[in-house]
Every structure is written in C-alpha cells, then in structure tokens.
Symmetry: C2
Subunit: 253 residues, 2 copies
C-alpha cells in the first residue's frame, strides 16, 4: 500500500469524469481530491455521484499546493486553454483524447511540458488493454514473423443519440465525427503495434438520420515507415465493435 | 436426377482445374467431358487425377457438337483469346476471376455475349457462400436497419510460395498481386451486399522476402452510390482469413 497517493483534480464533470473518478477510487496511487465544472448543475450531480468535493472556480483547484496535476475531460476545444492554465500553475496535465482538433493546438499543448517543466499525458487508454499488450509481446518476441498488415475497428451507435445540446453534434467542435472520437484510439494502437506512420488517407460519410453536422462513418488507410499497411474503421451508427487484427508471416492475432 | 447433364470442357489444367473438376463430378447438372492444356505434362497429370479425357488441341474440344460450353482456368492474360475462341464456336464461357487484367479486355469479353449469342459467367464464387447469402437475406429483410459500413478481408500466405515459374510472380500478368487474386472476390461480395460502387482508392505494399515482382499487400476503400463506405483488405503473406462484417443501425453481422 502506498502511503502517499498523488493528489489530483478533475476538470469537466460529464459522463466520462464519473467513469474515471470511480476507476481512480480503486487505485492506491492516486486520489482525486477536487473537481471543477463551470456548470453548477454538473458540480452538484458529480458530488452526489462520487463524493468528491467540487470547487467553484478553477483557480481554487490550481492554488491548492497539495494537488500535483489535473485530469481534463472538457470538450476538445477547451483542451488547450485549460491545459495551459493547469501547466502555468506547475501542475501535470492528463487530457482525454484527441489531444486537440488541430495540429497547431496539439503542438502547443505538447510544448507546455518544456515550458513549465510538467508532464502532459493524453488518454490513449486502448494500448493498455490486455489483448493489445499480448499482441505487442507476440510481435516483439517474433511469434508472428514479419508483420505486414494491421486492421482495426472501433465502432458504436452514439451518432444515433446525438442532439444539438451535445458538442459532438458540431463539425467544428468534433471534426471527423467518429474519426476524432473513436478511431483515434486505434490510430494510437496501430502506432504502438506498428511504429511510425508516414502516409494516411481517409473516406467519410454521413448517414445517420438525426441531422448532426458531423460525419458518422470513417475509414482510414495508413502506411508505416517500414512498408507495413494499416486500416482503421469506425462506424458510428451500429452496435459496438472493438477489434484489432495483426497479420504476420508466421501468425495471425 | 437430371437425365441429360450439360456437357462441358475445361481449358487450363492447373491446380484449380482439378478442384473444379472434382466438384463438378458431384453435380448431376453438368459433366466435364473434355479437357485441354497446351502442356502435355499437365494433360497427363490431369487425366490421372480426374479420369477426364484430354484433347491435344482446343479445336478438338470446340468442334465437338455435344459440348455446350467451356470452363477457363488459364492465366488471366489468356482469358480474352481463349474466351473469344470458345464464343466463336458458339459455346458458353465460364472464366475464373478476374475477368481480365484491364478494363478494355474485360469489356471485350463481356461483348462476346451479344456478338455470339452465348453467356459469359465469371467465377465470383464467394457470393454463393452460405454466410454471405445469410447476410444478404438479413439486409433485404431489414434486420440490420440502415447499413452504413461493410468490411471484408481475404488473405492467405501464397505470396511466400511464389516462384519465377508461376505467372502470379509477374506484375504484368497478375497486376496488383492479392488485389486481383484474392480481394477481387470481396469486391464482388461488397457489390452483391451493398450495390453500386462509385469511388475506390487503394494502397499496396511489397514485403514478401521471395523477390516476386507483384505487390503482396492490398487495402482498398470504397464508396457506394447511397453513401455507404466499404473496405477490402488482402494480406498475401499471412495465414488465411476470409471475413466479412456488415454494420447496420439495428444489427451487426
């Protein structure tokens, strides 16, 4: 048992913040001690659901010297301003994926590490899954021979549940639809399993009947530095799938 | 029991001719009564393996008035000249996939139907598989709701077995490698399940160590006329896979 768990805050108190807070409660290494949302309604609901105390403004969290870092589950376009505020207070940043909606903002967030001497971590959790780690071990051991081909899919029907009240409805706030919401996990998995990616091309389509601005289908082809090829698909209007297949000359997983 | 099975010939006596001839022997509807290859060695081996009598030249088969048509299992670049000879003799043509290596040759073969009043059939057998037909039935019944996304893969390790003696070694004779040898089955399956295709883009790679001219990895994205998207992958250096997944708003198969 760790005597001194790292104390952290969480910013943005929607559905995912509750999932992470419940998971953190099982860890002996970290403890979430403060939570912030601009919405009083969300603060109240979060306190009731998790028992974690909320603070009425971000500064109240950032001025707490006990807190070492913050988890960001705010909408994507707020990643940069909130991460910058957290980093400026010399606290570490953990932000949900995607790091940002544009390359420029992503690079600005990454640059916070050097500028303030803190660590930025992006929530690419899929590579931590047991099955993915087994694939990586098999590749590293050479069990699959020469890997030439990787396919992945992450799909669910959330596009059918979108409403104009959710930020994922809007093209400028969730560009690419399932590309930035789901497929991005598999891009990280393919990078983890296959190394550097040198080419990418995509097609997308909008077929959901609900009327959201965003595309709801996404298929991407990738080429790795060593010539391997990769595919990531994400259908946002169908029952859930999470699948990865690695094709090697000596085996298939 | 059919009293009068249709009598046919087979041209090109490699591995696949034996598979088809064994399958035909179980049918009461057709009977293979003559077989031709330019290679005497292949003719002898085929007679021994199947018991079907061979003929020393194609005309001997085509002048046989009992024979209604011919199965072509010759290399792709011979599809057009052999199909033209068979059609000119007013006999039906069944040719293995792909119909040809170029669009022009494919259209010339298709035009034989009108020109000579015969039927040309291309061996896209995958759509006849039980699982594929179940998918089509489920789509037609509406069980899957709105279909938005189809993924397919057909892979095997034959690229590792290529030698300069086989026509599939050469770029001009088997363009695209697994694209024209394997993926083509899935293009037909996706067309069968999803309708007209209006856009296609591919990536390919050559990773097999044997030195063949052809690519051995192929990934293609497709867009259907109604906005659906499709993917077909084919890895030619890995253990076998034949997989099709249809994503609908009400179900997944």
């Amino acid at each position: 048992m760790t005597a001194n768990p790292v104390k952290i805050g969480i910013v943005g108190l929607g559905r995912w913040a509750k999932v992470l807070t419940r998971a953190a409660a099982k860890s002996e290494k970290i403890r979430i001690v403060a939570a912030f949302s601009r919405s009083e309604e969300k603060r109240t609901a979060f306190e009731r659901a998790t028992g974690v105390q909320t603070v009425p403004d971000l500064q109240a969290m950032l001025s707490n010297r006990e807190i070492a870092g913050a988890i960001l589950t705010v909408p994507n376009e707020q990643h940069l301003p909130v991460a910058a505020a957290v980093a400026k207070a010399r606290k570490h940043v953990y932000t949900e994926k995607p790091i940002a909606s544009t390359l420029e903002e992503g690079l600005e967030i990454a640059a916070l590490e050097k500028k303030y001497g803190i660590t930025v971590t992006v929530g690419h959790s899929a590579r931590l899954m047991g099955g993915i780690r087994k694939m990586r071990e098999a590749i590293d051991r050479g069990d699959l021979g020469r890997v030439a081909f990787i396919e992945a899919n992450f799909s669910n029907e959330r596009a059918l549940e979108l409403t104009p009240k959710t930020w994922r409805w809007y093209k400028d706030r969730a560009p690419g639809g399932p590309l930035s919401q789901l497929a991005i996990h598999q891009f990280d998995v393919l990078h983890y399993l296959g190394g550097e990616i040198v080419e990418a091309s995509s097609i997308a389509s909008k077929l959901s009947p609900v009327g959201a601005e965003v595309d709801d289908q996404s298929m991407t082809l990738l080429k790795f530095a060593d010539g391997k090829v990769g595919y990531v698909g994400s259908c946002w209007t169908s029952p859930g799938v999470f699948a990865v297949r690695v094709f090697g000359s000596q085996g298939l997983m």
